[in-house]
Each structure stands twice: as structure tokens, then as C-alpha cells.
Amino acid sequence: MRALAAALFFLLLGGSARAERLIVSVSNHRVTVTPNYSGEELVLFGSVEKDAATPADRTAYDLVVTVMGPRADMVTRRKERTFGIWINTDYRQFLQVPSYLALFANRPFDRITSPEIARRQQIGLNNVLLTQRVGGDYADVVPNDAFRSAFIRLRTQRGLYREDASAVTFLTPTLFRTGIPLPAEVPIGTYEVEIKLFANGAFIGKTETAFEIVKVGFEQFVANTARQNGLVYGLVTAAMALMTGWMASIVFRKD
């Protein structure tokens, strides 16, 4: 559905002449997470293709790569001291925010483009849209909001949110690469990658690609069963408990 919308969007845009074309590819479109997976790094390659419409003075490009994991609702809670003990008092709900979010660029975000364009194009963790439910309203708040910054800080600590303004390297003036680190506790699902191209501070185009993270093996089977067939899972666990107890009483029987 989303892919269809994106395709339509590009068709509509297709009318206007585009000077540069971005061609990208990730090293692996399907990452399998096995039980002993301890994180890995994907590599994104790409090149900027110029055509006849490209102004001759345009030589230096800037790139911002945004990787977004599957979206989820999350709650951030704050503890406060009440009656001498620390209790969760206030909370904010973040709606459909990416479970993994990485922003990479070839040089600091504030030198790539102006603050207004950065905000519009969601460049940098401070500018990414993180919708909160505040009472009955849905809105993003100022970047220095306590809940928003705590949310980003905690996700960053777990390696799930990151920004790195030196991760994109240009191998030639038009050929670039960047690594996408995926930590051990990476959420499974479809990851969208957005590559935005800038020149002289102006946004001149973008392209998208995607990859998928799937977990395989016994652990994933257990997790799926627990979520989808709670009753069967409970019965099997209960039976396992009884078997273990019974075996122990046989093995250690003192006769």
C-alpha cells in the first residue's frame, strides 16, 4: 500500500525535469537473525548520476541517509518521588514511531543545509517527527521537551537510535557508501531507507530502498507461538513443568 503510494508520488513528480538521479543498493535485502546473532553491519552503496540538465557548477554533493525500522507505539514514563519512594507518575505516548532510527550524513547536518530545510526534510534526530499524544491532541513537541529527549536518549543507549554525521563517505565525487549498524536486539520487520541528496544547501532529490530483518530458529518459533497460540503454549509449558517434576522424583527417588 505504502509502496503504491510512493510509486504514484514519483509518477506525479516525474513531470518536472530532474537533473540528478540517485542509484542505491544495500548489501543484503534480507537479514536473518539467528539465536547467536550479535549484531552486524549492512552496507549501502550508491551513486549520483548526472544528466544533461545538471548545472555545470554542481560538483559537491551532500547526502543524508535515514533508516527507519518498523513503527510501533511506545510509552515513556517518568518516575517522581512520592511519599519517599520513586513511582511512575507522568507518561507520554509516542504514536507509530520507528523502533529503529538511524541518520547518516557525510558532514554535520547544520553545514549541509539551512535549519528550515533540515526541519522540513527531517534531517537530524532533533528534526525527526515523533508524534506524541498530549491529552487529546496529536503533535510533535519542541526538541528539548523532557519526554522527547529522554525517549531519544534511551533509544540511543540501546543502539536503536543513532545519528552519525561522518558515516557517509564519498569514494569519488559521485560514488558513496555508508554502513548501517544493526545491534543484537534489532527489531524484526521491514526497514525503509531514504537517501536525500543536497547540493549547495538545497534539497535536490531523494530515493528509497528497503530491507527486511527476519528472525529464524527455535527462539523465534517459541516467541511466535507464545503470541499467536497462547493457550497451546501455556498447556505445553505446564506439561513441561509436570514432566520435569515427575522425572526429578523418579531420578532422585530414595528407595
Binding site: 511506545m74 527462539e219 505446564a238 513443568a241 522424583s249
Partner: protein, 305 residues
């Protein structure tokens, strides 16, 4: 050897968890208790969320109490009538407990409630047991006879029933109520409740020591099996891989614990157990009072799309 726990969603060292299971099993075998009140805090301590710890420990306790109950059954040390009356209350209490657990989790206050109930319950039971053990120890030192047991108000209640194997004649009302209470706190706190149930049955219901442990194990077994089922169906929090490692460690440790326990005198055993329970309670209290490292926490409400 690292193993990834599917529900707890974190990698753990198998041998560490196995050793924890064995250590708790040793203590539980020594004192004749389930050990849930030690296991759940230990799991929380190694980073497993309280919710998953509580739900997974339920199945671990079911395993250890089943192996215990089988042994007591062979020795005819279980009172089936008393156990069934207790179970009527126990099953109701467990259902109530799991329901409360789900509600608290939605409110974001589950971790606090688990910690608070640990503080209240463990410090109370711990100090009572400790002081009782101390008094008993003093009495034996002085060579005094223990006070004679008398009937209390509990024995004046209506709906009396004869429990043949325990040789007591007792109203079913307090028995059912005790069952409900134990089932409830078991489901919310991830404990079997044996360490509370046994003293209550001895001191309040006057159940003879010959059937008390076996009968309490039957209650623990059924309520914990029921709790495992309910936690699995409603909250999807039971980590079977974690539970299996704990069970294997636990039942093995319990055998050695039981042998060690026979070498220690009853009063000293109660004194030690009281001290152990008290210290777990105090540890939880300290945790609540000191300023947490991070005031903010995040919980994911399920991935969609």
C-alpha cells in the same frame, strides 16, 4: 554459553541461570518451600523485566512442587480433602491475581506493585519468622516446654468439615479464604506462597505437621499451573526456555538442599529462613527509596505493520 530468551528478549548465560536455579532449589529443598520469593527477585536482578520474571517463575515452581508433591503422596502425607477445599479458594485467587496483574501492567504500575508487595510481605513474614525462631531457640536453651496449643476463634466458625487424614474438624470458610489469598499473591508476585501458607496452616488452622507440607505443595502446584496458563493466554509473558533452565537447575538443587536441611535443627532452620526472607524484603525497600539511575523508562506497546 549464551542463549537468547525468546520472550524476555535478551541473551543470558545458560550456566548462570542454571546455577541460580540450583542455588534457589537448594534453599527451597532445605526449607521445604517453593523458592519463588528468591527466584523472582534474582531474575529481576539479572535484567529480566518483573512481568516476565513473575510469569515464568510460576511454571518453575509448578515443576518443583510437583516433584515434591509426588514424594509426599507416596508417603501418604497429603490430605486430599483439605487440599481440594484450599484449591477452591486458590483457583479463584489466582484468576483474580492474573486479572489484577494485567490491569496494573496497563497502568504502568506493575513493577512498583511487585516491589511494594515484596517489601510488605517479606519484611513482615521475615521478622515474624525470625523472632519466632529466636524465641524457640531461647526456649530450648532454657529447657522450657513449648506452650500448649489451644483452640482459637477460627475453630468457632460454622460450615465445619472433617478432614480425616489430618485428623482435624474445621470450618471451610478460613480454608477457602487462605486459598484465595495465597492464589492471589502467588499470581501477582510470582511466588508459590509455601513460606506463608505452611506457618498459617500450622498456627491458625492447627494442621498437623505430618500433612502440612505435602498439602500446601498440592495447592502451590495447582495454583502455579493455573497461573502459568493464565499468564500465557492473557499476557504472553511466560518464557518457556527460561522456565526450563530454571526447572532443571531447581529440581536438582532441591534434592541436595533437602539432605542438608535434615542435618539442621528446626528452630535454627526457621531462624535462617526468617533472616533470608527479611533480607530480600529489605533489598526491595532500599531499591524503592534510593533515586533510580534513570527516571525515564520506555515500554513498547507492540509493533504494528
Amino acid at each position: 554459553m549464551q542463549l537468547y530468551l525468546p520472550i524476555a528478549d535478551l541473551p543470558v548465560n545458560v550456566f548462570l541461570v542454571l546455577a541460580m536455579g540450583a542455588a534457589v532449589g537448594f534453599v527451597s529443598g532445605m526449607f521445604g518451600i517453593g523458592g519463588g520469593f528468591l527466584m523472582t527477585p534474582l531474575l529481576i536482578f539479572i535484567g529480566i523485566t518483573p512481568a516476565v520474571a513473575v510469569a515464568s517463575v510460576a511454571s518453575h515452581i509448578a515443576a518443583s512442587s510437583f516433584s515434591g508433591a509426588l514424594t509426599y503422596w507416596r508417603r501418604r502425607a497429603i490430605d486430599p480433602a483439605l487440599a481440594s477445599v484450599l484449591l477452591c479458594g486458590g483457583v479463584t485467587g489466582t484468576a483474580l491475581g492474573v486479572w489484577t496483574f494485567t490491569q496494573l501492567r496497563a497502568l504502568g504500575q506493575l513493577d512498583l506493585m511487585i516491589a511494594l508487595s515484596y517489601v510488605v510481605l517479606l519484611t513482615t513474614v521475615g521478622s515474624l519468622m525470625f523472632s519466632e525462631g529466636l524465641r524457640a531457640l531461647m526456649r530450648t536453651r532454657r529447657g522450657a516446654v513449648p506452650p500448649r496449643r489451644t483452640h482459637n476463634w477460627i475453630h468457632g466458625l460454622p460450615l465445619k468439615m472433617r478432614f480425616k487424614r489430618s485428623k482435624i474438624y474445621l470450618s471451610v470458610i478460613p480454608v477457602v479464604i487462605i486459598g484465595i489469598v495465597i492464589g492471589f499473591i502467588g499470581a501477582v508476585m510470582g511466588i508459590g506462597g509455601g513460606f506463608i501458607l505452611v506457618p498459617i496452616m500450622i498456627y491458625i488452622l492447627r494442621v498437623p505437621t505430618s500433612t502440612v507440607v505435602g498439602t500446601s505443595m498440592v495447592l502451590t502446584l495447582v495454583t502455579m499451573l493455573f497461573a502459568t496458563m493464565l499468564h500465557a493466554v492473557t499476557n504472553h509473558l511466560v518464557d518457556a526456555v527460561l522456565a526450563l533452565i530454571l526447572m532443571v537447575g531447581g529440581v536438582t538443587g532441591a534434592q541436595f538442599g533437602a539432605r542438608a536441611g535434615q542435618k539442621i535443627r528446626g528452630e535454627q532452620l526457621r531462624l535462617l529462613l526468617g533472616l533470608l526472607i527479611l533480607s530480600v524484603g529489605v533489598r526491595f525497600a532500599v531499591e524503592l527509596v534510593i533515586r533510580p539511575e534513570d527516571l525515564f523508562t520506555i515500554r513498547e506497546l507492540g509493533v504494528s505493520g
